[in-house]
Symmetry: C2
Subunit: 309 residues, 2 copies
């Protein structure tokens, strides 16, 4: 079973308004409410591609209930650890008159050490053949070092750990041989205290360092440039198709979910990378997650190159 895990889930409230003026009542044009959280998105994508999975998470209140129900409505199993407090609502306000967006990202409630233990108790049940995807930032009260502990548990229990979080602690987790890391270029280079860059040879170099240190596979998204896949045997690269970007927020989650689904479905690495880049691009070209309708068409624009191996 594939398990996703969201340690600070959120509801996204998208508001469209003509103007946003201080101290007056701004009556808006419209709003949209979406369940969010990077692990939640990976669950949705996996399920869209027909791959059963279970969403784990740490959340509270009616907002977390909404997120969990949204998952179950799609046929995804949920097993959240429930905390006091109300999981956050993030607000994205698009202002028509000035063509700007205001993004308000809230912190989320505090997780007690007892609740963190309850969550880790669930992880302790995972076993060989299982995959756990840990995505996104962690709630207040959850030390980023927990990713090192989870990596240790993965090695001991022999389940496959997939990490998509930008904390520097990821580097210390690498020695426990996580199955896959999915940074973007900026995250990868920040782990090596380097300036952001999208230079392929630089990105290959540092990806290979992570492989040497223990990571089994790296899936690296490079924004509008495309993506790299790196492991012991090979380095492959795919360019990104040309699209009109609407919102890139969930692109990385889409790429990861699609790639993991492709692994389950035994696609070749090249085909899998090609489909994953196309799906990520499709998500970037829509307001929410891709519906995969244009993915076949986008794939035609993507060429996969074997750089090494």
């Amino acid at each position: 079973m594939i398990y996703t895990c969201t340690l600070n889930p959120a509801i996204d409230l998208f508001i469209e308004t003509k103007h946003l003026k201080p101290e007056v009542v701004n009556r808006t044009n419209s709003y949209d409410i979406q369940p969010n959280g990077k692990g939640v998105n990976v669950s949705f994508i996996l399920k869209q591609l027909g791959v059963d999975n279970t969403a784990l998470g740490v959340g509270g209140g009616f907002t977390s209930e909404f997120i969990e129900k949204s998952l179950r409505d799609q046929g995804i199993k949920t097993d959240f650890t429930h905390i006091d407090g109300i999981s956050r609502i993030n607000v994205f306000t698009r202002v028509i008159e000035t063509d700007t967006e205001y993004k308000e990202v809230n912190n989320g409630p505090i997780v007690s050490s007892k609740k963190l233990e309850d969550f880790l108790q669930k992880i302790s049940q995972l076993k060989i053949g299982d995959k756990l995807v840990v995505s996104g930032s962690f709630s207040k009260g959850i030390d980023p070092e927990v990713i090192i502990k989870i990596a240790q548990m993965a090695q001991q229990q022999q389940f496959d750990l997939v990490i998509d979080t930008s904390y520097p602690e990821v580097k210390a987790a690498v020695k426990y041989r996580p199955f896959l890391l999915k940074p973007n270029n900026e995250e990868l280079l920040s782990w090596f205290d380097k300036e952001d860059s999208n230079d392929l040879s630089t990105l290959v170099k540092y990806s290979k360092q992570l492989i040497q240190q223990g990571a089994k596979n790296i899936l690296l998204s490079i924004g509008s440039k495309g993506a790299l896949f790196v492991n012991q045997e090979q380095v492959i690269f795919g360019n990104a198709p040309k699209i009109k970007v609407v919102n890139t927020a969930c692109s990385g989650d889409t790429m990861l979910g699609t790639f993991l689904a492709g692994m389950e479905q035994k696609l070749s690495l090249a085909d899998n990378l090609q489909r994953s880049i196309a799906a990520a691009s499709s998500t970037a070209a829509t307001a929410g997650l891709t519906d995969f309708n244009d993915v076949k068409e986008l794939m035609k624009q993507i060429k996969i190159e074997q750089l090494e191996g």
Copy 2:
């Protein structure tokens, strides 16, 4: 039984942030989530003063569920008409650096004529001895003329109708002899196409016109000046105490709820008006609704004058 009714309930999301800049992620300091809606507030106030009541409303989705659960958690009965769509989340962002507030008020989902009929079916069950409080704006799909229909039903079924909504249709409802209207000075004068004013003699004049046209009682809030009570027999006025205003949003609802509770509790009109103004002022001096702790103290600052009768 007293029934309150909220035809466009909302959740209020209060965000505090250091700054609110366009096109970047603004990580905020804190957030608070509150159930809202003018009828919902009246229900909370009535219950705080020990008066049982039932909250009616027209709402949908997990946000309406949260509002209804918040009411039931306080021991208030609920009987909402459930619609498709998700009841709105309004956003109030306080920006520390500039000491400003951005208020984003959303529209709410559309109510079908079928659902409006379902709601009116509930109203058709009310009978002599019942009171119905209709507060706030109506959802899309609900024509403001429905207030005239409800007023007719009140007269036929002999229940007491209390109206706190600013629609001009209120004036046409007056001939069906509603029990109480609770406008503020601006609303009252707008019904007579007059400029806003807080001049007492002007406000008494137009209040008495509504009484002549059929309204049985008028409770008129006049912002920081105080409040008037007008009926066939008398006109009484109370000044407002001096307070440090935090948020006046729920003051009118507090005044109305307190006044209706005072009627149930057979307070004298003068005592009731005094307590109602104090409670409204207390709410204006706090972030949410008053807890009534400072109401006795605030009452000392309020003098009730018999202007007529």
